[in-house]
């Protein structure tokens, strides 16, 4: 069974540029999470989807961050414009309704210059 897929794995951009990350969850997993992880810290939830509905986006900086999961399967997280402080690892995870166990992708490491 394929795990959570994320792309790209690494991205280097200049500040003020836009950037997008893509996540394909495990087949059948209705819940999808986007996390931000700074160096030496635990992941912090940005947004959680139940199917195509964003049920918790309270920690998403909506002035520059946006996310979508149009068909309730794969998801895109966008930052526009990126700032130096956005440099971090962006993790995607998924889970099924019967379990609290989250399966994580390898993450996208973003460097903003």
């Amino acid at each position: 069974e394929a795990g959570v897929v994320q792309s790209p794995r690494y991205k280097i951009i200049e500040k003020k540029q836009p950037v997008a990350f893509w996540c394909n969850p495990i087949s059948g997993h209705n819940t999808l999470y986007w996390y931000l992880q700074n160096l030496g810290q635990g992941p912090e939830l940005l947004i959680r989807y139940e199917n195509e509905e964003a049920v918790d986006d309270s920690q998403l900086p909506k002035d520059r961050f946006s996310a979508e999961r149009l068909k309730g399967v794969d998801s895109t997280l966008k930052i526009q414009p990126a700032e130096l402080g956005d440099s971090a690892v962006y993790l995607c995870a998924s889970s099924n309704p019967d379990s609290h166990e989250q399966f994580f992708g390898p993450g996208t490491r973003l460097t903003v210059l």
């Binding site: 959570v4 635990g42 390898p106």
Partner: protein, 111 residues
Amino acid sequence: SQELEQSPQSLIVQEGKNLTINCTSSKTLYGLYWYKQKYGEGLIFLMMLQKGGEEKSHEKITAKLDEKKQQSSLHITASQPSHAGIYLCGADIWGTYKYIFGTGTRLKVLA
């Protein structure tokens, strides 16, 4: 302030030694999860604890949740270099949909 406190922040042990990592919350937890992360990779689920006093084991790793469901310990017996990595606890806060992580414990095992 951090809602899930982990200690120690880092740990260096000699191969074969036992070690313990702690995770403490000021709030009652619905579930407590332990993950392992290697540098540049995503988190790998180790185990989930839900009942007060519950204890689970996987190979040489044992985790326990206290009766009040506010503290958990992860114990590794006879550590090996393959145990090296970052151990993170995550938790559902009781009565909320909030899911949070601790800051992690970086473990290094010397061969």
